[in-house]
Symmetry: C2
Subunit: 149 residues, 2 copies
DNA sequence: TTGACTGCAAAAACTTTGCAACGTC
DNA sequence: GACGTTGCAAAGTTTTTGCAGTCAA
């Protein structure tokens, strides 16, 4: 693993483009990796490693959990996959082209996904005040939704 | 555990006030609970359950890890203790009167604590735009600090 | 005296690692 | 053919649970 830790997201649109990105970085386009990418393409929301290995309830073939973790990590360092924590429970993963950011309600656990632009002035305010570049894709904004407040 | 899940923070200033809050809610002021509260008073930063049970390097007596977890949970439902996640690693705990909120840099893992008022207009913006009451004490704002950006 | 609470032990939940066999380049 | 990668098993880390005994009210 000689790949730099932080990379710009690569915006994967298809299995093919992801496999190409792997090969361009000197890694192999193995069957196990194909499966992880297919699962993430099939899921329309962030999913756990366990769920990917389980085949997303039949949407893709089941696979080995340890390999799934290893490949999520590998794909992450390439910038193809992003790791998220929405509340408790296991870590979740999504393709990096899903550029949404998240608000989670700590009252009812509802997750609201918003497009990146919608948080730009929140980001601007934080940058101006603290010199801090905030991102809400890995860690969401936590709080209370309208109903729970 | 018949206590409501969400409560206003109780602002514990001393061991005595915390024990009083326990008794007023029909719970017992046991030695194990005293120890957890003493540890949190002694720590000047969020600490893990493991570290509390370990006695904070001699600052307080060691105690049983399972009981520490149980009591952190209990004190949490009373609003005396808050549970935080700053990055990876174990969950952290602090007294609820430590009302600071956090920014964590995902580049260098630096944690910056800020006073609650400093994020009020970020909060106002989020409330206006999304009807969402954000809080950054349980989950911090993640991003990149000035040096890492 | 009563039953909430404890400490210990065991297990559950999540993730990582070691290693021989395998499959991609 | 070389070696990156896999699948299985085992272990690591963090948190929860069961239970008989203990202690606060």
């Amino acid at each position: 693993m000689t790949v730099a830790h932080t990379r710009p997201a690569l915006h994967v649109k298809s299995l093919g483009s992801a496999l190409r990105a792997l090969r361009e970085n000197g890694m192999r386009a193995s069957a196990a990796r194909r499966l992880v990418i297919e699962a993430l393409l099939a899921a329309d929301e962030p999913v756990s490693a366990e769920r990917i290995a389980g085949g997303l309830d039949g949407a893709v073939p089941r696979s080995d959990l340890a390999s799934v973790y290893r490949n999520l990590e590998t794909l992450g360092t390439l910038g193809l996959v992003r790791h998220l924590h929405l509340g408790h429970g296991p870590g979740l993963y999504e393709l990096a082209d899903g550029d949404r950011e998240f608000l989670v309600c700590e009252g009812c656990d509802a997750i609201r996904a918003v497009d990146p632009g919608e948080l730009d002035d929140v980001r601007a305010l934080l940058r101006e005040r603290f010199g801090f570049r905030a991102g809400f894709a890995h860690l969401p904004i936590a709080g209370l939704c309208e109903e729970c407040a």
